[in-house]
Symmetry: C2
Subunit: 156 residues, 2 copies
């Protein structure tokens, strides 16, 4: 076991896995609502989005952590971008990390970010990046990240 892997441990019975098409009613949407506005997503909308993601499995890699009852308690997306720069290099983007309020304090977020980062590394990415607010910098530093630039936005 590498030092990187030895740091990673989930509570007993918990596991990290890919999102499934049947997760609509398995607390996925509720978990994302901890992060931001989600809105009312119908089962059909979820199905269409899941199909879009599944059509492009090398690009979209949505993952979750489930507890010992199989209920989703944390979510995170790894998006893998194929570039021309860096000898046709790939870059991982981590998006939409969210942990259910009642499950916070168990280092699930740390486990999730490290697991998605390892997936990016094992997929041949030369780096993985993410954007966060200044008060989350410390959390991501504990996950092995460092400040590398500024996020700029234009909203419509």
């Amino acid at each position: 076991m590498t030092q990187e892997e030895s740091k990673m441990q989930l509570p007993e019975g918990y596991s990290f896995r890919k999102l499934k098409s049947t997760d609509y009613s398995n607390n996925y949407i509720e978990t994302l609502k901890v992060l931001t506005t989600v809105g009312n997503i119908t089962e059909e909308q979820f199905g269409n989005l899941f199909a879009t993601w599944s059509k492009n499995p090398e690009i979209y890699q949505p993952h979750v952590i489930v507890n010992s009852s199989g209920t989703i308690v944390a979510t995170g997306m790894l998006l893998i971008e194929s570039k021309l720069i860096h000898e046709c290099g790939k870059v991982g983007h981590i998006e939409d990390i969210s942990v259910a309020t009642s499950e916070q304090g168990k280092k699930l977020g740390n486990y999730l970010v490290r697991s998605l980062s390892l997936l990016a590394k094992n997929s041949g990415c030369y780096k993985v990046i993410l954007d966060c607010s200044s008060h989350n910098v410390g959390f991501y530093e504990k996950c092995g990240y460092k400040n590398d630039g500024i996020e700029m936005v234009q909203r419509f």
Copy 2:
């Protein structure tokens, strides 16, 4: 013409268009080398990457500006991500903006970023984001962007 569009003007004979499969020998790679390390990309590698991008035209939208001779003088990628949050919202990511050294000072970068941002807006994105170093913040502010967070990285 909206105020946004009226700000956008290219030098005579220049145009903004999608990247083409035949652009391998049209200064595309040389233009990207102004931005960062590219390496030696063969025509086959370029072809494979172009095919990957073309298979997913809603996700990968690589664009260029060409001069009056049809030669590429600026490059930029718009990546469109489909999310669940914000009512199955879409987010545009602007990547790999580069302007040929001999063409700088003509506001091509500004035109390119505004054009990609408009594409994102017209594709239904609720926002478009990008990462930059602190010394490029002023440039992106002139393109209509504002600081929204911190970029974090892990390199492999």
